[in-house]
């Protein structure tokens, strides 16, 4: 008996451990048949080297891969769209291409031509 531990505590420890051990032995001895069968099956599979059947084993890996793919697509797609979208300068250049050089005189004439104004608008102040 240690001088640091009161005798009463030592007695309580002994009683407690004895009861714990008795319960543990009893519980280990009397297992229900379903649990016993599962343990036996596990042992057989382990000894046979059968890989563990865990249906959701690859789920975390799949979720991680999907996340990485999603982030990659989010980063990559805007860049791709930006590459496809024409710049403002190129739009202006294409607008100029709409007016052929040969017909430039016609458009000058149209711009200087008098515009017909209706009577009602002409009379208004």
């Amino acid at each position: 008996m240690s001088s640091h531990e009161p005798e009463e505590n030592q007695t309580l420890n002994d009683a407690m451990t004895k009861k714990s051990r008795a319960l543990f032995e009893q519980a280990s001895e009397h297992l229900d048949s379903a649990t016993s069968n599962r343990l036996r099956l596990m042992r057989r599979e382990a000894l046979a080297g059968t890989p563990r059947r865990t249906p959701y084993r690859w789920l975390p890996l799949g979720a991680a891969a999907a996340t990485i793919l999603g982030i990659g697509m989010t980063w990559w797609l805007p860049q791709r769209n930006a590459a496809v979208t024409p710049s403002v300068a190129s739009i202006n250049a294409s607008d100029q291409d709409l007016v052929p050089d040969d017909d430039a005189d016609i458009y000058d004439w149209l711009g200087e031509a008098p515009v017909a104004v209706s009577d009602s608008k002409a009379d208004s102040p």
């Binding site: 640091h4 319960l23 009893q26 280990s28 649990t35 036996r40």
Partner: protein, 201 residues
């Protein structure tokens, strides 16, 4: 039984005949791995169930431990016992960490994960009278709750040394610590359990 260790702690059950008997059983060298696993699987399951409080988790841990032990099948049979309990202890630690993370996530989403703990199951001893079975079942559940409230090292020490009946040296080997640490952890575990299991007095 005066046994003052370096930490001024005492091994409270150094002379216990029950421990000696269990240790003698565990020290018997098994003829095959099948025989060895058959001799420890029930105790391993009950030990894991006490530590985790959940039947399915306990079965998973025992299965993983059996599979991992297969990696050491070529070791001498005398080494299987400390190896198996060491593997089981690590599996329990991993499962505790995983469950702790799951609890945090569940709490973050405002859900309690306490429902995972097994409800009261019928005490599987058909020979005992009903009143005794209820009392034993209640005591078993109280023991599990008290053990799960202990710090991990103290819990492991109590389970391996007191319940499984490993020697101090075997417990130290399974836990990866010194003999003195085992005695210290065990003394603290008993002190805490005295408080948790006051109803047993």
């Amino acid at each position: 039984m005066i046994d003052v260790t370096t930490d001024a702690m005492v091994d409270p059950v150094a002379d216990s005949p029950e421990i000696d008997a269990a240790a003698a059983t565990s020290n018997r060298v098994p003829a095959s791995l099948d025989e060895f696993l058959a001799s420890v699987e029930r105790r391993a399951f009950r030990l894991a169930q006490l530590a985790l409080g959940q039947r399915e988790d306990a079965l998973d841990v025992v299965q993983d431990s059996m599979i991992k032990l297969m990696q050491y099948r070529h070791r001498p049979a005398g080494e299987w016992t400390p190896l198996f309990w060491s593997i089981l202890r690590r599996q329990l630690t991993d499962r505790h960490r995983r469950n702790a993370v799951r609890n945090r996530v569940m709490n973050f989403f405002g859900r309690s994960d306490d429902a995972r703990e097994d409800s009261i199951e019928a005490w599987p001893d058909p020979s005992a009278d009903p009143a005794r079975r209820v009392a034993d079942q209640s005591a078993w559940q109280a023991l599990g709750r008290a053990l799960r409230a202990l710090p991990a090292r103290q819990r492991e020490c109590f389970l391996l040394r007191e319940l499984q009946g490993l020697s101090v040296a075997e417990t130290a080997a399974a836990m990866g610590c010194s003999d003195g640490s085992v005695k210290t952890h065990l003394s603290r575990a008993l002190s805490a359990l005295r408080t948790h299991l006051e109803d047993w007095r």
